[in-house]
Amino acid sequence: MHNFDFVKPASVADAVAALAAEGAQALSGGMTLLPTMKQRLAAPEVLVSLTGIAELRGVSGRAGASVTIGGATTHATVAAEAKAFYPALAALAGQIGDPAVRNRGTIGGSLANNDPSACYPSAALASGATITTNQRDIAAEDYFQGMFATALGEGEIITAVTFPIPEKAAYIKFAQPASRFALVGVFVAKYADGVRVAVTGASNDGVFRWAEGEAALSGNFNGSALEGLSVPSDGMIADLHGTAAYRAHLVKVLTKRAVAAAM
């Protein structure tokens, strides 16, 4: 790994100032960035750690309304503390990687990275979450811009993510057994004004909403409403773990399971 200067500010304002330096990059849990730096796919000159910023950590909410999670909150903390507000979201966090990964990895790092197989993007999109940065609020709908691409600008930090709490929701992950990422993952959330279905792991364009499935489930929130629908395999990821057709098939299967599991 190339060497760099390490800084660990104690406030968002100081982190933003440090990120203005040439070649500076944010470091949160490091669960994605460290391996990337070891492969020399990233070589920041200054690494700005977000792990010492208390205002970026924590879970707060109002039952039945919304839950807000600080950008540098670990998956383990979300799994434990978001449960009272949004059980499906907490369950998703509790299934990411393994315990040691969950003790370091953070929601902000996951959403900033926007891996096409990551879990959190599906929850954010299915919940119509708001991604708050040091500069603005971004609707999930506008935030995800394809594989590893987001609306974040240079040096912009995710400070919090706010999820409106649905009536019922569930996330079902078909785990890729070696990496534990989602081969396909489906997050279903039922709100008073309709059902949203977001899919991760399947598409070359990253997380997406399955509009046909949403329309069917909004009329009848039961897996049987999906009979007769099929998901086209165009644009689906194909690799040694599964073909495009297999992933497309999994989208419907997992959506049905998520509806059955919704709580």
């Binding site: 660990k8 669960m31 383990a76 370091r104």
Partner: protein
Amino acid sequence: MTKVTMTVNGKTVSAMTEGRTLLSSYLREGLGLTGTHIGCDTSQCGACTVHVDGVAVKSCSVFAQDVAGATVTTIEGMANADGSLSVIQQAFQDHHGLQCGYCTPGMVMASAALLASNPSPTEGEVRHYLEGNICRCTGYHNIVKAVLAASGQDVAAVAAE
């Protein structure tokens, strides 16, 4: 170079670091605590697992400067004060929970973290918790048995299938 101080296995220690110095290198090369093993160096195998402020982390994937001031426990800190093996370590020996021993420091540290939060786990919970710790020798059954035994449960009925 920056001096980084931590509390490791109950002692205040310091070593010089670069920005890129990993916690695993700080422990192994800086402090000579080579019980923490490096298997994959890419956060996949768990051999390098240590406790930082009470929770299990993969020390190959944390920068030493990021955890300056932390309280760290490594495998060298697991034995009893008189040098005898701790309950978990003894259970690994009694139940043949290791063969080459390469994964063992990480297995013991992960198991200790599990039992601290869940003192009487089921077999399924042990297997699930150890998902991030890879062993190429044992086939896991005896590791699971050892962890269950360390929790004080009867393991006679745990099948080695």
